[in-house]
């Protein structure tokens, strides 16, 4: 039929052949006939021929070569599906001769237009590698290239190839690390598993152990927890590392690498995956990488998996058992989820029992034991035996219940089922060994049991017990020996050995009564069939029975036999399993499986994190050439000056901007989406030209495609977003309301109200918020020290932020949104990047009779009330006597203004100085706040008048948002002024610095380096303040300020003009 002209007949024939293959019958003799049809037009016939070829090509290599040309033709087909399947089959044919052809095909496909073909290429890599490992170097090149691919489709497959071919080349991941983290959520689920596992390994080599301090703290007891002095030496690098919250930093010098944090954050949503393998992968990642406090989140997800198929349960429980040993607290709330149902398969029951035992502690032991009691009545005897062992383990671990358990077990000795009794005996033996003195009656009871129990292990255990503690039961022991001697010949081997042991021990302690018996037993043993027993008998006779020949050893016989034996430690079989990566096959089997990659230990010191910085950030493509230049200029900030904090900074700034983004992005992407798309396209092509110089054709192809894709992605995104727009708008409204509060507060309140973050995160934040007020002075001091560094960083946000709205798909946007959640605690440290806080005099030394007060606007958010401007006062006592009870009185304010007084300074010794912080709500006016400063002797009238620049706080906007907002604040609200820049501040950096000194604004990224943009909101009303400085030739410049409040706008223009022209 295969030779027929009709496709339908061919198809029928092929179907039969495939059915034969499926049944495992040999169809290899049909090879020539089948191969002819490889070029068949009918696609189903073709596919079946492929199936056949792949199955038998290895056996008939010569004939298989006939088909190669067809595939080579297929590789050039315009249909991507055919290209891909040709490559698939070609690479699946395991014929060594075609290795070069395969290599060529893979290389070509790796730069194919279609991501599907590229994915197939990634799949082909391990195939070729297994066929010919010598191609490794070339294959690594292809992997390297594919790793840089930006499509989610390829990512999973290429990481798979990486794992199979060159898992040791971890350095290939550096440049792609952040991209992989960000793409992760959009990768198909199987790819996610592979990537997460690989990243776990990667993170173990690149980041520091987040729990290293914990172990320190545990040892160094509670004092270290509060007293920061202890870890002073580690604190020296704290400044540049920038802690999550300043208060926390005091305690814990360890700071998580932002990339480490990125990984944890991006994997967390995957705990909600429907795929158990993904959930497990994330769980093991958290277990191995996350700080102790955060590991808890995985418990819930793992418990959920227990509802799944029994095979899944089996694997999950194995892993949970290992986790419970290390982190018991994590699963304690879910104790009841591990209760056993009579319908569970035995292997699941046993594992659940293991988990329950691991979870047992003083508080829950009573419930667990009650639960165990019901299990003992189960019909499944294997399970009952396991339960008894579990009770034994609980009893050893928890001293208080030892007696209860023992009593319970003794009761079980009267059980009718022999297996149960035997198991109890064994467990009781182990328990008794811990405190034998107290329980001689139990030993007696057990001695009686020897008549009934037949299970050898139990008999042996009883005999051993009696022998060991024969001094507690001096009367019974010889009697037992007598009985045993009688039945010696019929006993099992282990029992025989124990009889000999018992005899020997009794002989040593009570030789009068047992001498003959011992002799008799030893004689019986001498002629036993088992050589072990004969051996033992001979050995013991020499030791204990004194003869003239027996040397020095017999003197020590007593010591040898009656030495105190340490009580056995009953421990979990899962005890040491966690050195295997959880979730792996090796872990499950507790043996190294082939190809298992050891989970490396944490490094002592973190390797250079800058390796992950991407030169031209491919995944966050800058929107214009200028931008990239800017990025390059700023490069040193990242890597050189403060290698550590470079990425931190960028992450921070992203997080800050993200809060802005959150409100804006929805509207923006749908509303002005087309606009941004166009501009982006233009810039892309621009970039292309540039790229061309470097590597011509390939790059071009690659670049073109992402553009198309991003477009399609965006357009679909647009659709999606449209519906969200309304909601978003509403949301943004509410957000702008909350924006009036200060940063940290609005964050925490948002987190509370939305209730969307996990508990831990909320907790963390709360903690940070709580710990803020007391640590304020400390923070400020630190602040001043690091001011210079901070100011260098200020422009950094721009390259990182811009791409977000112009290019990437939702995943990145959402990722950035995610960033804002946990990193916000960092923001206070970076939001106010003023180069030098200008101090104003409040009270002169002379008028104040030695008391000198200076104040400055610290630009910190004033945490008790977000609408107030924080004023930091430095009080110095220059007089010779102490000043007492320094406080505020008689505050005179314009209507609407409010003051939050600083706490009274009770005592200021002579020569000392103190800082105090007060908050003033200026109601967006520059009216002075007048009040009296009182000491215990005098009152001084003072007033604080704010410069207009201090009445605002920075907000981060993206370029597009800025333009949009500016468009809305035209006409009356716009003030433009021409100016000539001062010679000193003609470069961009200087402009930025002077503007930011004059007003508390933040830099907005912008496409041209001739223009600097700044944005902020007034503190009280939250109206937007936008400033633009466009510089022209020879220091000419134009300043534009847009603000709803014209008064503020006018004053701000004046102030900035002054700052720029001076």
């Amino acid at each position: 039929m295969l030779d027929s002209n009709k496709d339908s007949l061919k198809l029928e024939a092929m179907k039969r052949i495939v059915a034969m293959i499926a049944r495992g019958k040999n169809a290899s003799d049909l090879f020539p006939a089948v191969v002819k049809n490889v070029a068949c037009k009918n696609i189903e016939v073709k596919k079946l021929v492929y199936v056949y070829l792949v199955r038998y090509a290895e056996e008939q290599q010569d004939l298989a070569l006939l088909s190669i040309s067809t595939f080579q033709r297929g590789l050039k087909d315009p249909n991507q599906l055919i290209r891909a399947s040709a490559l698939r089959v070609l690479s699946s044919i395991r014929v060594t001769i075609i290795v070069p052809i395969m290599m060529l095909a893979i290389k070509e496909a790796a730069s194919d237009m279609s991501p599907y073909v590229r994915k197939t290429a990634a799949h082909a890599i391990p195939k070729l590698y297994s066929l010919d490992p010598e191609q490794k170097d070339q294959l690594i090149e292809v992997i390297e290239k594919l790793l840089a691919d930006k499509t989610t489709l390829v990512a999973g497959s290429v990481v798979m190839a990486f794992e199979e071919v060159c898992p040791e080349r971890i350095e290939l991941i550096h440049k792609n690390y952040r991209k992989l983290c960000n793409l992760l959520i959009d990768v198909e689920e199987w790819g996610q598993v592979v990537i997460i596992n690989m990243l776990t390994r990667y993170a173990r080599t690149q980041f520091l152990n987040p729990n290293m301090n914990e172990s320190l703290l545990e040892e160094g007891n509670d004092k270290a927890f509060y007293g920061s002095d202890d870890d002073e030496d580690e604190e020296e690098d704290e400044k540049d590392k920038k802690a999550e919250a300043p208060a926390m930093a005091k305690r814990k010098p360890y700071v998580m690498d932002p990339d480490h944090r990125l990984l944890l954050r991006n994997t967390k949503p995957l705990l909600q995956s429907r795929n158990a393998a993904v959930v497990m992968a994330v769980a093991q990642l958290y277990f191995h990488l996350a700080p102790k406090a955060e590991v808890g989140v995985i418990a819930k997800a793992l418990v959920r998996l227990l509802r799944s198929h029994s095979e899944v349960q089996y694997v999950v429980l194995q892993n949970v058992a290992t986790m419970t040993i290390k982190r018991r607290g994590m699963f304690e709330p879910y104790l009841k989820s591990f209760y056993i149902r009579s319908t569970d398969p035995t292997q699941i029951k046993v594992l659940k029992l293991e988990v329950l035992t691991n979870l047992a502690n003083e508080t829950n032991i009573s419930t667990i034991l009650r639960e165990f009691q019901t299990y003992i009545k189960s019909m499944d005897k294997d399970f009952v035996a396991a339960t008894i062992q579990a009770i034994g383990r609980c009893a050893t671990n928890i001293g208080e219940v030892r007696d209860t358990c023992l009593n319970g077990l003794v009761q079980l000795l009267s059980n009718r089922d022999e297996l149960v009794v035997a198991e109890s005996v064994v467990v009781i033996k182990k328990l008794l060994q811990m405190q034998p003195e107290k329980h001689s009656d139990i030993i007696k009871h057990m001695a009686k049991l020897t008549d009934n129990i037949q299970v050898p292990m139990a008999r042996a255990s009883i005999l051993w017990l009696i022998g060991e503690y024969c001094e507690h039961v001096p009367k019974i022991a010889p009697d037992v020996l007598r009985k045993m001697a009688k039945s010696f010949t019929n006993e099992e081997d282990i029992v025989k050995l124990q009889i000999i042991n018992l005899a020997a021990k009794l002989y040593l302690t009570n030789s009068k009564q047992t001498k003959l018996l011992t002799q008799y037993v030893l004689n019986l043993a001498k002629y036993d069939q088992n050589y072990d027993i004969r051996d033992r008998a001979r050995f013991i006779r020499q030791l204990i029975v004194p003869t003239e020949k027996s040397g020095a050893l017999s003197k020590y016989a007593k010591k040898l036999f009656l030495a105190l034996k340490p009580a056995p430690i009953l421990e979990s079989p899962f005890k040491d399993r966690d050195h295997f990566q959880l979730g792996s096959l090796s872990h499950l089997l507790n043996a190294k499986a082939g190809g298992y990659q050891e989970l490396p230990d944490w490094p002592e010191a973190a390797p250079d994190p800058s390796v992950r910085n991407v030169e031209v950030p491919e995944w966050t493509k800058c929107s214009s050439r200028e931008k990239r230049k800017e990025k390059k200029v700023e490069k040193p900030f990242y890597s050189d000056s403060e290698g550590e904090s470079g990425p931190t900074e960028s992450a921070d700034s992203e997080s800050d901007s993200a809060s802005g983004l959150e409100s804006g992005s929805g509207i923006e992407e749908s509303g002005s989406g087309s606009e941004s798309e166009e501009s982006e396209e233009g810039s892309e092509s621009e970039e292309e030209e540039e790229e061309e110089e470097k590597d011509k054709k390939k790059k071009k192809k690659e670049l073109k495609k992402p553009v198309q894709e991003s477009e399609s992605e965006q357009s679909s995104e647009e659709e999606v977003r449209k519906h969200e727009r309304k909601n978003k708008q509403r949301k943004s409204d509410s957000e702008s309301e909350s924006d009036e509060e200060d940063d940290s507060e609005s964050e925490s309140s948002r987190s509370e109200s939305e209730d969307s973050e996990s508990e831990t995160e909320v907790k963390k934040k709360k903690k940070a918020a709580e710990s803020k007020p007391p640590s304020k002075p400390v923070k400020k001091e630190k602040k001043e020290m690091s001011l210079l560094d901070l100011d260098d960083f200020e422009p950094a946000p721009s390259p990182q932020v811009t791409p977000v709205n112009t290019f990437l798909s939702s995943s990145l946007v959402t990722d950035l949104e995610g960033l804002s959640l946990s990193d916000t605690v960092l923001s206070p440290a970076t939001t106010s990047p003023c180069s030098a806080l200008k101090s104003y005099e409040l009270l002169h030394r002379i008028t104040g009779e030695g008391l000198c007060v200076e104040y400055c606007f610290s630009r910190q958010p004033f945490s008790p009330d977000g609408n107030m401007v924080a004023v930091q006062m430095q009080v110095t006592n220059n007089s010779t006597s102490d000043t007492k009870n320094l406080h505020m009185e008689d505050v005179k304010l314009q209507s609407g203004m409010r003051v939050k007084e600083f706490p009274e300074i009770e005592l200021l010794p002579a020569g000392e100085s103190a800082t105090a912080v007060m908050g003033i709500d200026f109601c967006d006016s520059t009216q002075a706040a007048n009040f009296q400063l009182c000491t215990h002797t005098r009152k001084f009238f003072v007033s604080i008048q704010p410069p207009v620049g201090e009445l605002m706080r920075p907000v981060f906007l993206t370029e597009n948002e800025f333009k949009k907002e500016q468009g809305q604040l035209m006409g009356m609200n716009e003030i433009t002024e021409k100016l000539t820049l001062d010679a000193k501040c003609r470069n961009e950096h200087a402009i930025v610095q002077s503007v930011i000194t004059a007003a508390n604004l933040s830099r907005v990224p912008c496409g041209s380096d001739r223009e600097c943009r700044f944005a902020g909101r007034t503190v009280t009303s939250g109206s937007l303040v936008l400033a633009t400085v466009a510089s022209k030739e020879e220091g000419a410049a134009q300043l534009t300020v847009n603000c709803e409040k014209m008064v503020i706008g006018t004053m701000l223009v004046k102030d900035i003009l002054l700052a720029l022209t001076q």
């Binding site: 690479s91 189960s378 959402t814």
Partner: protein, 418 residues
């Protein structure tokens, strides 16, 4: 990754094999048979069996063992999850996943397996994509194919593979546009001897059957989303939206799929819909035992409890049971000692009961174990947790879809200890 796959039926025959890399001899399954023999129950076969050169990872579904052969380290859950996905796909294609169905469609099965794995790594597992590549067999299609000579195999790359919504086919068209959602909750509970609840929790799923034209974008909101303690989503659900607003927003796959499965926190008190009064005793010395069981409705919120099935594994010593049900029928299997009683609907006025005696093996001592009673039941039109869908909205398409939501409560692993 996955090297080969063997399908083994209950009687231990290998009826299908498929290799993705070089051929592994089927003798490797001997290790599996060995383990199978050791296990007393079919479900007690360990899922992972190490052999000298390979590892066997198996799942048991529909009385068929799916045994995957692995050669090197791979997360076992990865394989297990994939095998289950294979079974689900078969079920989706053939309606049932039995040995007969697989044998009848062996070519389709082979084509499917070929598409699902490449070199042992999963390639396409979304049923929507697979259905575009390989069309499911129907009688009509087979007839058309034999006449016209067209094929079951798609010639174009499924658009889903490349799009951002890989789970949805493009160009979907229906004349009746409808979207149905079933909220199904299962109560897992252990009730102790005295009738108090030891543990109880609610596991729920929302299964959807969506037949909508084009690219609809749906949002589903709940009246009380805070009820949901732990959720897992179909990949189509936008996670961020859920995090922020507790609204399910998604572009649905075409056809049947599981949108969401959730867990209702055990902090909330779980309403137990039925109570059981039981008195199962064996007297020492006599070869008789008493069996007395009465069921009654408890917190059911006015809904009737239906399709009640009580089953219990009686102790091994029980020879026979002579019982008298007030309603429904009961069966007792003297070999497996399984007692099952089909009660049907519980009438609150006349409570169903099952009374009578059990005869024990003569001379055998009183069994010291007490049987546990497993209960299955259904309550229509109610989600026991009180979860309510607020509204379902569709965007992106112009037509008006027909929407429907159904609630149901079932007993999951509901056990009463005696």
């Amino acid at each position: 990754m996955i090297h080969s796959l063997f399908l083994i039926n209950a009687s231990g025959d290998i009826f299908l094999e498929k290799h993705w890399k070089s051929v592994v001899s089927r003798s490797v399954c001997d290790y599996f048979f060995e383990a199978q023999e050791r296990a007393t129950e079919p479900e007690n076969v360990p899922p992972v069996i190490p052999t000298p050169h390979h590892y066997l990872i198996s799942v048991l579904r529909h009385r068929i063992y799916f045994v995957a052969v692995i050669q090197s380290e791979v997360p076992p859950l990865f394989v297990i999850e994939f095998l289950h996905r294979v079974v689900d796909t078969f079920q989706d294609y053939f309606g049932v996943c039995t040995e007969a169905a697989i044998k009848d469609n062996v070519v389709v099965v082979y084509e499917l397996l070929e598409e699902m794995l490449d070199n042992g790594f999963p390639l396409a597992t979304e049923s929507n994509i697979l259905k575009e590549l390989i069309k499911p067999p129907t009688i009509l299609r087979t007839m058309v194919n034999t006449i016209t000579g067209s094929t079951n195999v798609g010639e174009q790359l499924p658009t889903g593979q490349l799009s951002v919504v890989p789970w949805r086919r493009t160009g979907v068209k229906y004349t009746n546009n409808e979207a149905y959602f079933d909220v199904v909750e299962e109560i897992d509970a252990i009730i102790d001897k005295s009738g108090s609840t030891i543990t109880a929790e609610i596991q729920g799923v929302i299964d959807a059957c969506v037949k909508l034209t084009g690219m609809p974008d749906l949002t589903l909101s709940f009246m009380n989303p805070r009820l949901l303690d732990d959720v897992s989503f179909h990949p189509c659900v936008r996670f961020k939206r859920w995090e922020a607003e507790r609204i399910l927003s998604f572009i649905p796959p075409d056809g049947n799929f599981r949108l969401l499965s959730y867990h209702v926190s055990s902090q909330n008190l779980v309403a137990i819909p039925v109570y059981v009064k039981h008195n199962i005793t064996f007297r020492e010395g006599s070869s008789q035992g008493r069996f007395d069981l009465t069921l009654g409705p408890k917190q059911t919120m006015g809904k009737s409890v239906e399709s009640v099935l009580v089953s219990s594994q009686l102790p091994r010593g029980v020879l026979n049971a002579n019982l008298n049900p007030s309603q429904g029928t009961y069966t007792f299997d003297p070999v497996t000692k399984m007692l099952s009683w089909e009660v049907g609907k519980i009438n609150p006025q006349k409570l169903p009961s099952l009374k009578g005696t059990m005869s024990l093996q003569a001379g055998a001592s009183k069994p010291d174990e007490n049987p546990t009673i497993n209960i299955q039941l259904k309550i229509q039109q109610m989600a026991i947790s009180g979860l309510k869908v607020n509204r379902l909205d569709m965007y992106g398409e112009k037509y008006k879809p027909f929407k429907g939501i159904k609630y149901m409560t079932k007993a999951g692993k509901f056990q009463v200890r005696t």
